[in-house]
């Protein structure tokens, strides 16, 4: 009997250890694809990546897709999902959760603990620019991979004590093909202009359209000179309303709020 209990305990321990590595503390996997946007193989690969980064960085990187937010705002849903499913490493419950909802076409990134430090408002803006094209284009796998890799990069950068922020954004990856094509394109346009000038040197024959050389000097007399005001039109246009939400905080840093469970979250979101 004791042996059996021991065996069960041992099995549970092994399972727990395994679960701890593959799953977040609460038992939910780091990829929850309820909207079924990913193929099985893509889902598997993405989950492997999320697990690998999460364990290495000791910060949960989570991707959640849902069909509907069930009446909540994207921020509330993402925060609650994070809090209720026990994501997060350590006391700070460090983690970053990426939620997209298909019905509302909302996306939201909720950060907690060290995730708040690593992903600043400016960093989030940059991140969203990087995955937005994939997201809008329906390439969800690429969007999530981009998100995961950027999170990895952000956390590594934050460890140095200087997280990516308004005055310290990640460098664009060097796209060699784009650079070569652009450089050659600009070079070609400049060359066209230069060779055009060289071609022009060969031409010296053209018609004269004016007779300016033959105006008798001082012969011009202005005898009629009237400027008559006729009418005026006034057009009135309403000023564009200033949009506060678009305003970027110049100070940098991360803005935070408190979720329904009382936990502190950062992040942000939008439509795709």
């Amino acid at each position: 009997m004791k042996k059996r209990a021991f065996a069960i305990c041992f099995a549970l321990l092994v399972w727990a250890l395994f679960a701890y590595s593959a799953y977040a503390a609460g038992g939910m996997p780091r990829l929850v694809d309820w909207a079924e946007l990913l193929s099985d193989s893509d889902a598997e690969e993405l989950l492997d990546k999320l697990n690998e980064i999460s364990e290495r960085q000791q910060t949960d990187i989570v991707v959640v897709t849902v069909n509907s937010l069930e009446g909540k705002s994207a921020m509330e849903y993402a925060d609650d999902f994070y809090d209720n499913n026990g994501y997060g490493y350590g006391d700070g419950r460090d983690g970053i959760l990426f939620l997209i909802s298909m019905e509302e076409r909302d996306w939201h990134i909720s950060t907690a603990g060290y995730g708040i430090t690593a992903v600043t408002d400016a960093g989030l803006e940059y991140m969203s620019e990087a995955f937005m094209d994939y997201l809008s284009g329906g390439d969800y796998y690429a969007a999530f991979i981009t998100f995961a890799e950027l999170c990895d990069d952000y956390i590594t950068q934050a460890m140095t004590g200087e997280p990516y922020d308004a005055d310290n954004l990640p460098e664009e990856p060097f796209d060699i093909i784009w650079t070569i094509i652009t450089a050659l394109g600009i070079g070609f346009i400049i060359s066209l202009i230069v060779t055009g000038i060289m071609k022009g040197e060969l031409k010296s024959v053209g018609r004269q359209i004016r007779a300016d050389d033959y105006i008798k000097k001082g012969s011009m007399r202005l005898s009629e000179n009237s400027d008559l005001f006729l009418y005026r039109h006034v057009e009135r246009r309403e000023k564009p309303k200033e949009n506060n939400s678009d305003r970027q905080s110049p100070q940098g840093g991360s803005s935070t709020h408190t979720s329904s469970s009382g936990a502190t979250h950062g992040g942000g979101g939008g439509k795709f």
Binding site: L202, G206, N225, D227
Partner: protein, 361 residues
């Protein structure tokens, strides 16, 4: 009783009526308001519009005297029809226009005697040197064209020009606008004020030249301008010695149209330049009347050089007075491509290096 004056709206063209409530004229179609004086003034401006009068009397002219004609010979090219005159001692062996050696002797007759001539001031050697210089610094000129520099013939030709003198009465009317913008807390305002601007006056033109030779390309001759007419002298047949003179075959009446185009352009621009201080200026009407018109017939000195290359005839001309050399040159297509792609590669590499540097910094 004064006749009813009907005004048209300067804004939309509709018939306009007096609005007793605002004590102003108001257009019932576009709701624009006008002062009574404005409409009267605009009306009188419109009344000033006139039709052009740019007709030249070209029947004047001096005929040749018999003794002058006796010393001159006329040659006609059987190939291109070009006709030239020279003194009896100058043998024309080939046509200066097409290079064809077949020429036919004729009697000089029935043409106007030139009023003036600008004598040649530069000689054959200067023309050849100028052509050499004309080739220099042109990187897309085929090297072989430069090296083979075989000029078929260099001919000094007196080219007939009609010279037009006139005083032009110009009347121009423009619609001009001024823009002003301001804002209050809710709106941005753009106010456009419309003005009717009229300008009139006179401007004189002297010796506007038009090439009277149908054989000489007009653009080639116009490219040779300007000639210094103050150096012109009264025509004497003696000036023709050793040179060829082209016979005019485009008469003054036909040439006047070309002169008119140039006079109109310059006159309109001169008066348009006096309309200042507006955002936009659009010409609404314009007319030119030419007064005190005078047409003279003059011979201008031109060195004609021609060369054939790859079956194509290249014609160059040098102003025999100022030395200005003109003439289109052939394009070395292979060199053009080399330059285009070479430069694209070089500049592209340089820009690529700049991109890399910017990225690294």
């Amino acid at each position: 009783m004064a006749a009813m004056q009907e005004y048209k709206c300067p804004c939309c063209g509709g018939a306009i009526a007096f609005d007793s409530r605002i004590q102003k004229m108001k257009c019932p179609f576009c709701d624009t308001e006008f002062e009574m004086d404005t409409l009267a003034g605009y009306d009188s401006q419109l009344r000033n519009d006139q039709a052009d009068n740019m007709i030249w009397e070209t029947d004047r002219g001096e005929e040749w005297q018999d003794e002058e004609v006796a010393g001159l010979r006329s040659y006609a090219c059987r190939s291109c029809g070009g006709e030239i005159i020279c003194d009896e001692n100058t043998a024309a062996t080939s046509c200066p226009f097409c290079g064809n050696p077949v020429v036919m002797k004729r009697q000089v007759s029935g043409m106007l005697r030139p009023d003036y001539v600008i004598p040649f001031q530069l000689d054959r050697k200067a023309a050849k040197a100028a052509l050499k210089k004309h080739y220099e610094g042109k990187r897309l000129l085929p090297q072989i064209f430069k090296d083979q520099n075989h000029i078929n013939e260099v001919k000094g030709v007196y080219v007939p020009f009609w010279l037009f003198d006139t005083s032009a009465d110009v009347h121009m009317r423009y619609r001009a606008t001024k823009m002003r913008t301001w804002s209050d807390s809710r709106y941005d305002y753009t106010e456009t004020s419309f003005f009717s601007v009229s300008r009139g006056g006179t401007i004189g033109f002297e010796t506007v030249p038009v090439d009277g030779s149908g054989k000489m390309p007009d653009d080639l001759m116009e490219s040779l301008e300007p000639f210094d007419i103050s150096k012109a002298v009264d025509f004497q047949t003696g000036y023709l010695a050793g040179y060829l003179a082209d016979r005019y075959d485009v008469d003054a009446g036909q040439s006047a149209m070309r002169a008119n185009e140039r006079i109109r352009k310059s006159a309109e621009e001169a008066f348009a330049a006096t309309v200042r201080g507006y955002g936009t200026v659009t010409k609404e009407a314009g007319s030119i009347q030419l007064n005190s018109k005078k047409v003279t017939y003059a011979l201008f000195p031109v060195w004609i050089l021609n060369t054939t290359w790859e079956g194509k005839n290249y014609l160059f001309a040098m102003n025999g007075q100022t030395g200005k050399m003109v003439g289109d040159l052939p394009l070395d297509k292979a060199a053009y491509r080399r330059w285009l792609f070479g430069l694209t590669g070089t500049i592209g590499a340089a820009i690529f290096a700049v991109f890399v540097l910017l990225w690294l910094l």
